[in-house]
């Protein structure tokens, strides 16, 4: 025990400790400032347009390209009908709806068949479950569209989604356009925090990354792909835990362009329990680790210079999570042994409050920028105060433990669905 105490005290006087402490304190503030200022620049350049400019930018090409709305599904009997009903209401002249059932063991196919019988939906029915990536790949040759809108099977689209997404593909090098996912289930405090997260972290980050020129990942729940681009990079990799992050990096490594469209709205379900959220974020952390291992070489190749801000930012975030977990654990251990740790306080000090305040300010800016698209979010802005208090610890822990697993572990042959549905 004395040795443990001595070790802790010694460590707190090392350069490494002070570097970690400084990084832990400064990174969240400065990254928040960078994201907020850059996303505001995006907002003023791209989202504050007059009606005439708006109409020009979102004019559909003639003839409008054929779009396949592709919905991979595994055991989605609860939500698939609402998804299909919304998809059928899309306002666009040429599209088809294709469900690819990945060997569901519930009534998903039975719920879809009436739509197939009346000719509203096509069904690719797989007799075996092989995961989302394989389902997408198997359906692709059967699609008629040159643009593919991939949706989650529990996502409800806004009817204007294709009119928001398709015009981007007039630019020859656009491979994908990711939409703006909104949280529809708001029953638990956890889902309300995720509502703020998707608005203020995901939304802000996408805007900022668009200005930098590369996006870390599309949202798997709503993304439109150019079919030719998917073929160019060899379709989805079934061994990756997050095929959307992997696809995003592969496309951009081949110098395809990925865009963000805040008007392309989709209402999605998020995990409402801690268990469900843990499993989802664990998969995302493992997926990011796999992607960094597979594509990490871009950090050192000058031809991928434009990718560096996004790639290095991902690594810096992971390092910050590591600092969070290591330092917090050290401090808790120190206090439990009656030792006051250096640089830490049981109640936040001035800089600790600055960190919390800039986080809340960032989340508030995200709500303000997104309020045009989702007016129902305003009452939830107050929940932002829970984000630094609760969410950071949870996400940092998951990132710290599971990203290295994705990085170092040998990839499985295929990754199967593990989504909790209620």
């Amino acid at each position: 025990m004395d040795q443990v105490i001595a070790g802790m005290v010694f460590f707190q006087h090392t350069t490494l400790y002070w570097v970690m402490l400084t990084y832990f304190g400064f990174y969240p503030v400065f990254s928040a400032v960078v994201w907020v200022t850059t996303s505001i620049i995006y907002f003023f350049r791209k989202e504050r347009m007059g009606e005439e400019e708006d109409a020009t930018l979102y004019a559909l090409p003639e003839p409008p390209p054929m779009v396949s709305v592709l919905i991979p599904a595994y055991c989605e009997e609860k939500g698939i009908e609402a998804t299909l009903e919304a998809a059928m209401r899309i306002d666009y002249p040429r599209f088809e709806i294709v469900v690819v059932d990945d060997g569901s063991t519930d009534e998903t196919v039975a719920r879809v068949m009436p739509y197939v019988e009346r000719g509203a939906v096509r069904l690719v029915r797989k007799t075996m479950n092989e995961g989302k990536a394989m389902a997408l790949n198997d359906a692709l040759p059967c699609l008629n569209g040159e643009i593919i809108l991939a949706l989650d099977a529990d996502a409800v689209v806004d009817f204007g989604i294709l009119r928001a997404l398709v015009p981007h593909f007039s630019s020859a090098r656009v491979a994908a356009v990711t939409g703006n996912p909104r949280v529809s289930n708001r029953r638990t405090l956890l889902s309300k925090i995720q509502l703020i997260e998707f608005t203020s972290v995901v939304g802000l980050l996408r805007r900022a990354q668009r200005v930098w020129g590369r996006i870390q990942t599309v949202s798997g729940v709503v993304v439109a792909f150019r079919k030719q681009a998917l073929l160019d990079v060899g379709l989805f990799d079934p061994s990756m835990a997050t095929e959307d992050i992997d696809m995003s990096w592969r496309l951009q490594k081949r110098f395809w362009d990925i865009r963000y469209e805040p008007k392309a709205l989709v209402w999605m379900q998020v995990p409402e329990t801690l268990r469900g959220l843990w499993r989802q974020r664990r998969r995302w952390a493992v997926g990011l680790g796999q992607v960094l291992r597979r594509h990490g070489g871009i950090l050192f190749h000058q031809k991928n210079l434009r990718f560096w801000p996004v790639a290095y930012e991902a690594i810096l975030s992971i390092l910050w999570s590591a600092c969070f977990v290591i330092l917090t654990s050290l401090w808790i251990l120190s206090y439990s042994m009656g030792i006051h740790p250096i640089g830490a306080y049981p109640i936040p000090n001035f800089w600790g409050m600055i960190i919390a305040t800039t986080c809340i300010a960032q989340l508030t800016v995200g709500v303000v920028l997104d309020r045009h698209y989702d007016r129902s979010i305003r009452p939830y802005a107050a929940v932002a105060v829970l984000y630094p208090a609760i969410y950071w610890a949870l996400m940092s822990t998951i990132t710290f433990f599971f990203t290295p697993i994705g990085f170092f572990r040998r990839r499985p042959k295929i990754t199967l669905w593990k989504t909790e549905r209620k």
């Binding site: 400032v33 960078v34 200022t37 850059t38 620049i41 350049r45 708006d54 109409a55 919304a86 197939v116 939906v121 096509r122 069904l123 029915r125 797989k126 007799t127 075996m128 394989m134 790949n137 198997d138 692709l140 040759p141 059967c142 409800v156 689209v157 806004d158 009817f159 204007g160 630019s171 020859a172 090098r173 909104r182 529809s184 708001r186 029953r187 405090l189 309300k192 200005v211 079919k227 030719q228 681009a229 073929l231 160019d232 379709l235 079934p238 008007k263 209402w267 109640i347 000090n349 001035f350 800089w351 600055i354 800039t358 809340i360 045009h372 698209y373 129902s376 929940v383 105060v385 829970l386």
Partner: protein, 135 residues
């Protein structure tokens, strides 16, 4: 585009009033704690420390804006010189194996694309078969 157009899925599912009340109470208490901590911290904070913090944030903000606008201007310059990218890649659609390297067996992709119901199965010889129902 009409931003005020109705939203297909804009019917967020909420919980009952008791639970909403509990959530509101938790949020309010956290805000009270937040402002209380600021009230504890501010009297003990040196003016110089606060000034340095605000200055650091302002410097980062200004630098970010300047660098970002410079970056945007640089990219717009490239666009003005070279014009929009027009080269369309024409990648042939050549599906012979699936994502796990199994041979694909089918009655022709035209038939698959015209069909409403396609069944995908794997047989014992490690081949993936796609059979289309007509219509």
């Amino acid at each position: 585009m009409n931003r005020e157009a109705g939203r297909a899925g804009a019917d967020p599912k909420r919980c009952g009033s008791t639970r909403e009340g509990l959530h509101a109470l938790i949020v309010v208490c956290t805000w009270v704690l937040f402002f209380y901590w600021w009230s504890c911290v501010l009297p003990t904070t040196l003016l110089s420390d606060a000034a340095w913090a605000i200055l650091a944030i302002l410097v980062v903000s200004v630098c970010t804006v300047v660098l970002t606008l410079g970056w945007v201007r640089y990219n717009l310059g490239i666009y003005r010189r070279k014009g929009p990218r027009r080269r369309n890649l024409d990648v042939p659609e050549h599906f012979t194996v699936d994502g796990l390297g199994r041979d694909l067996v089918h009655t022709g992709w035209e038939a698959q694309r015209a069909s409403r119901l396609i069944t995908v199965s794997v047989d014992g010889e490690n081949r993936k078969t796609l059979s289309a129902r007509e219509g």
